[in-house]
Point group: C2
Chain length 337, copies 2
């Protein structure tokens, strides 16, 4: 900076004023300074700036290492939005939900230079880790609400699950089986509860949900159990990957999708349309979630406000893995469970 000041024949303070477009600077002076900056390739030193101002213009993201596709997209959206707003993004990966691992992430983040934190970790996993979120730093949660002690942003899980369930009922299925996500997951819980409520609202008894862990493998395992029961004609899987596993299980047994069994997923994986058969799914919009999370955090940073953002809604994308049940419906299916 000093060099620039000398080159332009002004004081350092004036250079600072030009850079920050703050205070009075004569037009001619401004031009000279800008020239000098150009010539010398001057870049403000962010460390000094941060030291002086106490602001880093960076936000931290704490996220699970092996994260779902949706969360990856969310991260991406967060990065894009942050960068648009002139903020850098510092990523703190967490490898497991072990207590000290998560706590360690917070510690690292406190030491590192961030003005606020976005946490993209399932609420239940947070609870389990018994982590107290450090205060002093604004925090926004994604994919959880954790007692609403902090602003949170999320997909409208309940609405999406309702769409999927109603779609299958409307096609004429007697009821809808559910392959749920892991017990610890907040999203999984919301999807499961909404599925159950939707069935009950229609006066249908909800079968016992099967437990998965988001992986295609766990969907396959669930499918193996479901296919033993001839009464199963409609399955709503809590994500697309598990839906893939369910499809595989039925296919292996020679059952047709959607002829014998309809399957609906949740997420909107980009390749879901190219699967065989193309998968009916609930399309999420992680990019909106990410952008909203950044906006919410910046609002907290600037205003100290804590406006709750609305949930991001989903759409049902009907493809070829769901259809009306075989006419066999004439003879009402046995209702096990």
């Amino acid at each position: 900076m000093e060099d620039v000041a000398r080159e332009a024949g002004v004081s350092g303070q004036t250079v600072s004023r030009v850079v920050n477009a703050r205070g009075y600077v004569g037009a001619a002076t401004r031009e000279r300074v800008e020239d000098a900056m150009q010539r010398l390739g001057y870049r403000p030193n962010s460390a000094a700036r941060a030291l002086r101002s106490g602001r880093f213009r960076a936000i931290g993201v704490i996220m699970f290492s092996f994260s779902s596709y949706g969360n990856q997209r969310t991260l991406d959206a967060i990065a894009v939005r942050a960068s648009q707003m002139g903020y850098a993004l510092t990523l703190i990966p967490v490898e497991s939900s072990a207590r000290d691992t998560v706590a360690g992430a917070f510690r690292r983040l406190e030491e590192h230079a961030v003005d606020g934190i976005i946490i993209v970790i399932e609420a239940h996993q947070l609870d389990e880790a018994e982590v107290e979120i450090p205060d002093g730093l604004p925090v926004v949660l994604v994919d959880s609400n954790r007692g609403a002690t902090h602003p949170f942003v999320d997909t409208d899980q309940a609405q999406g699950a309702r769409l999927a369930t109603e779609h299958l009922l409307d096609l004429g299925h007697h009821t809808v089986w559910h392959v749920a996500g892991p017990a610890k997951s907040y999203s999984a819980e919301r999807r499961r509860e909404s599925w159950r409520q939707t069935l009950e609202a229609r006066g249908v008894v909800a079968p016992e949900p099967l437990q998965g862990d988001w992986s295609a493998e766990s969907g396959y395992q669930a499918g193996l159990r479901l296919r033993k029961d001839d009464g199963v004609t409609a399955v709503f899987a809590a994500n697309d990957q598990m839906a893939i596993g369910v499809v595989r299980a039925f296919r292996e047994a020679g059952r047709d999708i959607p002829g014998d069994v309809s399957v609906v997923g949740f997420d909107g994986l980009p390749d879901a349309a190219q699967l065989w058969p193309p998968l009916t799914t609930v399309q999420q919009h992680p990019e909106k979630v990410g952008a909203l999370a950044v906006d919410a955090l910046l609002a907290e940073l600037d205003g100290g406000e804590r406006a709750q953002t609305p949930l991001v809604s989903t759409e049902l994308v009907v493809r070829q893995s769901s259809a009306a049940p075989r006419s066999r419906t004439a003879a009402p299916a046995s209702h096990p469970t």
Copy 2:
């Protein structure tokens, strides 16, 4: 820090020594200082540290916004390794390869506080953007070598493509068709050339490769063309997603996989094993790539050395989408192209 020093009855310098475990500090003094830090919840200020030392203990990653699954995994591995080494990770997303967008990313990164940069962008896209990589900052490339002007880390694309191609030939197929990735992609080019060379080394004429863009949709389009030709019995797709599309195209036409046509992918998507049929694929190890990239960068940072890391090799995972051709091979297939 001053508060801690007062609390412990020592000078700030001594606190600094305790924190950094540098220089001589008496055992009793150290304990007192540590106590005081604990009580006061002292955290060193990274901005001041960076200002003083010129080091930020952060590395920047420039990466495409809509990146492949493999790159996401790589990013994740980079984050984990960086964090192990006590470095923070600053993520700079690039939305398109438009020249000013990429250049803007570099500019942002220069202003932001990083000690080095890892670039996870296809080399050809970099070239196209005509970006000159800023010097002064150590750089490591992933997924490209760009004339080897910088250290680079990558999967051994050629070895992987050879494994896939030889596998199909060894099963008894006369030749192997190829669905390539986008022309701009360095990885796609390597995989294509290696496929071609492997065929030629066996004295087989390589059919014209089909052009895809990594997406399952493009694989489907390629599959539509391939299925018109009855001579096609073996297809090597440059990634798993395109393989999925190829499978769908054949299936829709009532052709059996692997009965009529064998399909092999590349990547090792976690769900490839759960597809129907489970997909034979070349397993990559993006987590190794990411870790190596960080190590290479830190080596450059510390030593100024520029040791080239070896390519990360792949393994063929044989599943049910590939098999020997139907006995029809007795009557040699017509060789179109």
